[in-house]
Amino acid sequence: MAPIVHGLESKYENVVPFSFLDIDDPATEPLQNALGYGRQWRPFIVILGPDGQVLTRPDGTQYLWIGVTPGEFIDESLIELLSAGG
């Protein structure tokens, strides 16, 4: 499964860093473990806050997507976070 948010990277260039990590690369295992990715799903997309934690919406849901996700969802979330001063 190829990354699905590459198209958004250019839009948020110099604003929000994007990282695309290969789940088959052993070097990514510490990051997978830190973010609680159990390799059950792919892709696995998260938006992290300044402290490295997955950001949470006011309703308690996380900015986390599992599986194929429409790019609009992620785009709207980034706009939401940036407009809120995040």
Partner: protein, 139 residues
């Protein structure tokens, strides 16, 4: 008493004969002559019996009940009716899913030479700013 029993039995036999043919779904008409003979025979037997006993009321009642209607002729086809050949065909339902609205072309296709993974060593989770991380596979 015996002639009365005989008459009733005869009536039942005639009736069962008419109904018995229902099993084959083909009803045949009982000849009118036979029906007339049966009616006449039954009535004569009843009259003889009841007259001897002095029961005119019972005689009238018996005459009314002994009158048999001709068996109706019902034509039933033993074979099923023709199957309509021009029945409209019901088209199979084919579900069509338009994925263009669900997954816009934002990413690379598998095998795309431009697809490159980030260097995990360059990733700092607590970077002090918002960042997006995607775990993916090349396959």
């Amino acid at each position: 008493m015996i002639p009365r029993i005989f008459a009733i039995t005869f009536v039942l036999l005639v009736g069962s004969a008419a109904c018995g043919s229902a099993e084959t779904l083909i009803y045949t008409e009982v000849p009118e002559e036979l029906v007339a003979q049966q009616q006449q025979f039954v009535q004569e037997a009843a009259v003889a019996s009841l007259t001897a006993r002095g029961q005119p009321d019972a005689l009238q009642e018996l005459e009314m009940s002994a009158t048999l209607d001709p068996a109706p002729t019902i034509e039933a086809s033993p074979t099923p009716g023709p199957i309509a050949q021009d029945a409209p065909e019901i088209p199979l339902t084919q579900a069509e899913v338009d994925g263009s609205n669900l997954s816009p072309a934002l990413g690379f296709e598998p095998g795309d030479p431009n697809l490159k993974a980030s260097n995990p060593a360059s990733v700092n989770l607590a970077s002090g700013q918002i960042q997006l991380i995607e775990f993916f596979a090349f396959w």
